[in-house]
C-alpha cells in the first residue's frame, strides 16, 4: 500500500545528462518491488506547480543510518524537473509511493533481456539483481541518442550477464537503436522474457520483437499523470483485457508495467472504436 512521507535529500549527483537524487523515504523501500514508482511534489507548500512528478524507483536501501532511502533519476525537461535537479542535501521533499504494479518476475531461472532507453534504464538495475538472484541469465541493452544520455552503464554491467550499448550517433557502442541489436540477442540467448522501459516508440518496437520470438514482454510505460494514485483519469491508454475487450486503463494503478502484446501501441492517443465505452459503440 502506498504511503505519503516527507523525505530529506541526502545527495544529488550528476550522471551524464541526468541527476540522481538520494532521498530518505522511510516505509517506501520496505514494500518496494522493481518497477514501482514514486511521485514527488515540486516547489514546496506554496508552489504554483501543483502536480507531483512521477519517477521510477531506481535503487532502494531499507536499512542504514538514514532508515529507508531511495534513489530516482531525473532528466531535466521543464520547470519541475529543473527544480528537483537544484535540490541540495537536507532539503525536504513530499513523496508518495510505492505506486503502480511492479514487474512480474519468472519463478524459475530463465534467460531474460532487459532493454532501457535513455534514463529508462533506472528501474532495471534492481530488477536485474533480483533476476540474477533467481538464477536468470540477464542480458541488458541500453540505448540512447548519444553517450551522455545513457544512464548507469558501469553499474548495470556489474549485474548483467552481457551488456550491449547502442547510440544513434555512434558515440558509444553500436551505432543505431536498441531494436537493431535486440533480435540478435534474442536469438543467441533464447530469452523468454523481455523487460523494457523507455520512450513509447521504443516500447512498441521492443514488444513487437518479443512477440516475434514468442517471448513474454513487460513494458514500463511513460504517460503524463496528474495524480499517480488512480483518481484523475489522465494517464489512460488502450489495453486489451483478459476478456479480449479493450479498455482505457490508468497507467498509474493498472501499470506502469504492461504486457507488451496487450497494449494497443499504435492507438495510444486515440480511443479505439471497439474500446469499452467508445463513442463509436455509443452510437450503435
Amino acid at each position: 500500500m502506498p504511503i505519503q512521507v516527507r523525505g530529506e535529500v541526502l545527495d544529488v549527483r550528476r550522471a551524464g545528462s541526468y541527476y540522481v537524487l538520494s532521498i530518505t523515504a522511510s516505509g517506501i523501500p520496505e514494500s518496494f518491488r522493481p518497477g514501482h514508482f514514486v511521485t514527488i511534489g515540486i516547489g514546496g507548500e506554496e508552489s504554483g506547480l501543483i502536480l507531483q512528478r512521477a519517477f521510477a524507483i531506481h535503487q532502494v536501501q531499507s536499512r542504514g543510518v538514514y532508515g529507508g532511502t531511495l534513489d530516482v533519476v531525473v532528466g531535466v525537461h521543464g520547470k519541475g524537473s529543473r527544480w528537483l535537479s537544484e535540490r541540495r542535501r537536507h532539503d525536504t521533499l513530499e513523496i508518495v509511493g510505492p505506486l503502480g504494479k511492479p514487474f512480474i518476475l519468472p519463478k524459475e531461472g530463465v534467460p531474460c533481456v532487459l532493454v532501457g532507453g535513455g534514463y529508462g534504464s533506472a528501474p532495471l538495475f534492481m530488477l536485474a539483481e533480483q533476476l540474477r538472484e533467481r538464477g536468470c541469465r540477464v542480458d541488458v541493452v541500453l540505448g540512447a541518442s548519444t553517450e551522455e544520455k545513457l544512464y548507469g552503464v558501469l553499474d548495470i554491467k556489474r549485474v548483467s550477464s552481457m551488456l550491449t550499448i547502442t547510440t544513434e550517433d555512434g558515440s558509444s557502442g553500436t551505432k543505431g537503436r536498441v531494436t537493431d541489436v535486440l533480435p540478435g540477442i534474442m536469438e543467441r540467448s533464447n530469452s523468454v522474457v523481455v523487460y523494457a522501459c523507455g520512450p513509447m516508440g521504443m516500447l512498441e518496437a521492443v514488444a513487437a520483437i518479443a512477440s516475434e520470438y514468442r517471448a513474454y514482454s513487460q513494458c514500463s510505460v511513460e504517460e503524463a499523470m496528474a495524480c499517480g494514485i488512480g483518481i484523475c483519469m489522465t494517464c489512460v491508454l488502450p489495453v486489451i483485457g483478459e476478456d479480449g475487450l479493450t479498455r482505457m486503463v490508468r497507467s498509474c494503478v493498472e501499470g506502469p508495467i504492461f504486457r507488451g502484446d496487450l497494449v494497443r501501441w499504435a492507438e495510444i492517443g486515440t480511443i479505439p472504436a471497439d474500446a469499452l465505452g467508445a463513442p463509436a459503440l455509443d452510437a450503435s
Binding site: G48, L51, I229, G230, I231, C232, M248
Partner: protein, 339 residues
C-alpha cells in the same frame, strides 16, 4: 458514524480543536464541512489508502453517466500556473456498475456519499435519478450540468437558465423527496445568480459552486493545442478567487440556500475564506492530486483556523464575511465573540 447521520437527524456536535465541525448540506448531516470534489477522488477507494474517508464530510464521486464511457483521447491534462486543465470526457462505468460496485463499497465502508451524475439530455438525467432511487447510501445527488445537451445544439445546460431548470426539475421528480439535490454551477456565465435563481425555482436543495472554467494551452513546440480535446476545464488555486466571488454573489442574493464551495482549496485558511463568503461546506478537489490526504489535512487546518478566531462551530462562521458594519465595529473594539 451511526447510520442516523445519513438522515436529516439532529446534528450532533463533532468536536475538533474545541470547535463543533458538524455541517449540513440540506438534509445531509456530516461530521465535517470538508468533502472531496467530483472527479478528484474517483469513488473514494484510492484515497482511503491515505486517510480514513469516513472521517471527512463526504465523498463526492466522479460524475457517472448512464452507460460506460471511454472519455476523450490523451493528452487529457496540462499543468498551468497554479492549476491544471483537464479534458477527461467523463470516463467511467455506467450507472449500474457504479451502484453495484462503487456505491456499494462506499456504503459498506461507512462513508457518506454525494453521487455526481451527468447526462447528455434532460431525459438521461431523469433516468440516472431513477436508477439511484432504490440504491442504498445516496447521501445527496450532485447534478453536474456542465455537459453539452445533444438535443439542443450542444448548448451546455449550466449556461442556460431554462435548460438547467429542466434538468433539476426532472431529477427532483425522479428522486426520493428526502434526498438533497445539488446543482453544480459553471462560472462560465455572465451572471451566476441568474442560473442559481432558475435552479432554486426548479426545486434544487443546494448549489455546488463552482465547476471548472474553460481554458486552453498551446504547445509552442508542436504549435498545436496541448490537449487532444483542444479546450479543457481549468481547476486548482488559479480559479480560487473566481470560485470565492461566485459563492459570495450567490450568498448575497440567496441568504438561505445551502452552498458547497469548491475551487482551488489547498489549505484550511482557503476553506475558511469560502465559509466566510457563505459556503455551508467545501470540497477539496485538484489539490488532492498534489497531496492525497489534502481533504483530511484541510479539515484539521480549518478546525484550528476557526478555533484561532474564536468560533465555537463551523455554522457560526458561515457567511460571517457578510456581517454588517455594526458587527465589524464591535470586533474592532476588541470583541472576540462572533455574532
Amino acid at each position: 458514524m451511526s447510520r442516523a447521520m445519513f438522515g436529516r437527524a439532529a446534528r450532533s456536535a463533532v468536536m475538533s480543536q474545541g470547535v463543533d465541525m458538524s455541517a449540513t448540506l440540506g438534509s445531509l448531516a456530516m461530521p465535517s464541512p470538508v468533502l472531496t470534489a467530483s472527479g478528484c477522488a474517483a469513488s473514494g477507494r484510492e484515497l482511503d489508502q491515505f486517510f480514513d474517508i469516513t472521517k471527512i464530510g463526504a465523498i463526492v464521486t466522479k460524475s457517472v453517466m448512464l452507460r460506460a464511457r471511454s472519455g476523450r483521447p490523451t493528452p487529457r491534462m496540462c499543468e498551468t500556473p497554479s492549476g491544471m486543465l483537464n479534458s477527461i470526457g467523463l470516463q467511467g462505468p455506467g450507472i449500474e456498475d457504479f451502484i453495484e460496485e462503487d456505491l456499494a463499497w462506499l456504503t459498506s465502508r461507512g462513508a457518506r456519499t454525494v453521487v455526481s451524475i451527468a447526462g447528455e439530455s434532460v431525459e438521461e438525467y431523469g433516468k440516472l435519478a431513477q436508477k439511484l432511487r432504490p440504491a442504498a447510501g445516496v447521501g445527496a445527488i450532485e447534478v453536474n450540468i456542465s455537459c453539452p445537451n445533444v438535443d439542443a445544439r450542444n448548448q451546455v445546460f449550466a449556461c442556460d437558465p431554462e435548460l438547467a431548470a429542466n434538468v433539476i426539475q426532472t431529477v427532483r421528480r425522479q428522486s426520493e423527496s428526502q434526498t438533497p439535490i445539488f446543482a453544480k454551477l459553471s462560472p462560465d456565465v455572465t451572471d451566476i445568480t441568474e442560473i442559481a435563481r432558475s435552479v432554486i425555482r426548479a426545486g434544487v436543495d443546494g448549489l455546488t459552486v463552482i465547476n471548472t472554467t474553460l481554458g486552453m494551452v498551446i504547445d509552442v513546440e508542436t504549435m498545436r493545442p496541448a490537449l487532444a480535446g483542444v479546450t479543457g476545464g481549468l481547476s486548482g488555486p488559479a480559479i480560487r478567487p473566481i470560485a470565492l466571488r461566485c459563492v459570495w454573489q450567490i450568498r448575497q442574493a440567496f441568504p438561505d440556500i445551502p452552498i458547497l464551495g469548491v475551487g482551488g482549496i489547498r489549505t484550511g485558511l482557503d476553506a475558511l475564506q469560502f465559509i466566510l463568503a457563505g459556503a455551508n461546506a467545501v470540497s477539496v478537489g485538484t489539490m488532492t492530486f498534489n497531496d492525497p490526504s489534502a481533504p483530511f489535512r484541510v479539515q484539521n487546518e480549518l478546525a484550528l483556523a476557526l478555533a484561532d478566531r474564536g468560533f465555537e462551530s463551523v455554522s457560526q462562521a458561515i457567511s460571517y464575511g457578510h456581517r454588517g458594519a455594526d458587527v465589524f465595529e464591535l470586533e474592532a473594539e476588541g470583541e472576540t465573540e462572533p455574532e
